[in-house]
Subunit: 407 residues, 2 copies
Amino acid sequence: MPAGPIDPPARLLMGPGPITVHPRVLQAMSAQLVGQYDPFMTTTMTETQELYREVFATANDATLLVDGTSRAGIEAALVSLLAPGDRVLVPRFGRFGHLLVEIAERCGAEVHAIDVPWGQVFVPEAIEAAIREVRPKLLAVVHGDTSTTVAQPLEELGAICRAHDVLLYCDATATLGGNPFRTDEWGVDVVTAGLQKCLGGPSGSSPITLSGRAVAVVEARTSVEAGIRSEGDPVLRERIRSNYFDLGQILQYWGPKRLNHHTEATTMLYGARECARILLEEGVAAAVARHRLHGEAMLAGMQGLGLAPFGDLAHRMTNVVGVRIPDGVHGDAVRSELLEDYGIEIGTSFGPLHGRVWRIGTMGYNARRDAVLTTLAALEAVLRRHGVRVPTAGGTEAAQDVYGAAA
Amino acid sequence: MPAGPIDPPARLLMGPGPITVHPRVLQAMSAQLVGQYDPFMTTTMTETQELYREVFATANDATLLVDGTSRAGIEAALVSLLAPGDRVLVPRFGRFGHLLVEIAERCGAEVHAIDVPWGQVFVPEAIEAAIREVRPKLLAVVHGDTSTTVAQPLEELGAICRAHDVLLYCDATATLGGNPFRTDEWGVDVVTAGLQKCLGGPSGSSPITLSGRAVAVVEARTSVEAGIRSEGDPVLRERIRSNYFDLGQILQYWGPKRLNHHTEATTMLYGARECARILLEEGVAAAVARHRLHGEAMLAGMQGLGLAPFGDLAHRMTNVVGVRIPDGVHGDAVRSELLEDYGIEIGTSFGPLHGRVWRIGTMGYNARRDAVLTTLAALEAVLRRHGVRVPTAGGTEAAQDVYGAAA
């Protein structure tokens, strides 16, 4: 047999995610399984729901995990909320706005997108004007789009949506835990996330929360699965197009009825639970401040190396910096050398930014001073080997200045 | 914060799955992450594909993992193959046949089901007769249905399907690795599985394999995602209803193009890889023989305790035994006592069998002599406390006889 025991090389993952997993999360994921309806299992599920209510800053009862990557959570939200023909509005400012459009189209929804150039965000007035015109059932928006490193302000959108009787869905995969996010205060009806960004876990579990009015929409579209249906269980009206992503059925599995749906991915559950525990031990506000500090240090360091930032700095995410690749430099060659010689990964870009922008993450477990400084020192050395004239220690000194000012 | 470090109670999981995870799998899953396009990551994905080709007994290039539980694999197969209005035939002999119907209905397919009473299987002639009548695009069948503990013989279905130009899909979640399964030899076009049964892993990753003609069907329905589309990439004809489960896009992610789709659930990948490594080190034939031996010992032991087997023994799965709960005995009370006092879990049943049948698994890591004998000894003690007259050491001695005869 050719494949030996798994033995990954040492890496410092400073890209836009996935990032190095917090060792405590890996430890938690090595715990042994219990049965699907073991009292320990149901207690663990309930605890995890409580933990994620605090992570999402919500009192929503319907707070749980979807078993799949962050895009599984997105699809569960959209396919459960949107019936064919429903209108949805997507303000699109990066790759993941395109993804929302793509998924909503597959749900059979009538999708209306509005655009700003990559690197910018929308003013609330532009979104409200589009809502007036489109009159959607749902506004679906990405919070922070790692493809452009900027975050759409959400504070005013909840009130706008309520005024127009529109549901508000937000993809917070790239921001949750490292940027302020207030589900209830902002009036967001449905939020989905992933573990592999600021939460410091591996991809494969998608935390989700739904408001009461979102649950009402979902429940009106769900029914009990045929193989486990009892007499008297209602049969379908207008059916959700997916079984795996039927949030009504998933809620009944996580709820007091514990109605069998999928077999919960217990190891991912353990991981998601530990991610939330680590975050809440630190405190969400402290974790956001930490992301902001190390993100600022990284940005200053990149500028100190003479690299120009990409995107609207007033709206940049705390946890990803975009920088323009210097003219004449082969972006992927620099990335490869950084990976091979230093074990450090930084990110490339998609679509219109490919080959023009690097993306450097400082998130989750890697929002740390040593990770930031090591990355800057290594990048300086690699850039120099690629013929870029960089100020000696320009990156590390600029980052140290940020740390000094914060101390 | 109320939730402490994860600390599951010691359990011996002898239900129909999930079962106790092989410690080597948990170890592999605690390995640190690398980036999504790190050469080590793509090599690991390729190795995992090779390993699962051997597990599935196939030369199919399109052999990979779907990120989700076993039902994610089922839905990926059905939604990628079936367009709205396509006819599908489902021979239904247990709960998971109902699930295939439910999922295919959600795909908008025209679903035709044929039934036998739970505990029985179909003769090939009955299936061929239904194919002649329905003329489906796809025959979708469960291999072993843990709800009834019997396995549908598949050997003749591939030839029948080819004769009638029908695609053959099989859900092998509950059987793969512990029962004979020959994808290519049997002419099965698409097979999906999960880790949490005979493969000895946790739920959360679904191995899948597709024949060339299945890939052709899928590829005719797929396109490149909008956010990462390049000039010249074809735009859609008849679109797959899901993005997350679009096997065409997932294949392009696993294939040489490595086109970004989801962020691979690396920890589950490590686990799936180790499950396959363990199986192939033992050898698939040896593993099947081991499951057969311990399954027979468990069956003999249950009969030795005076419990009547459920289902057609000629077609029983190697890895799950169904037994009728004795009259006057509260099935769930026995299960609870076994769990609380002995740390051993056995399974209840769904639908028409609930409260009438227990299901006892001997699979994956727990297809072991000590696991079988311990379960029988404990069950004897618990049954006696519940007023059942059981022969002293009737279970363990009968099982020992099976082991003695095999030695």
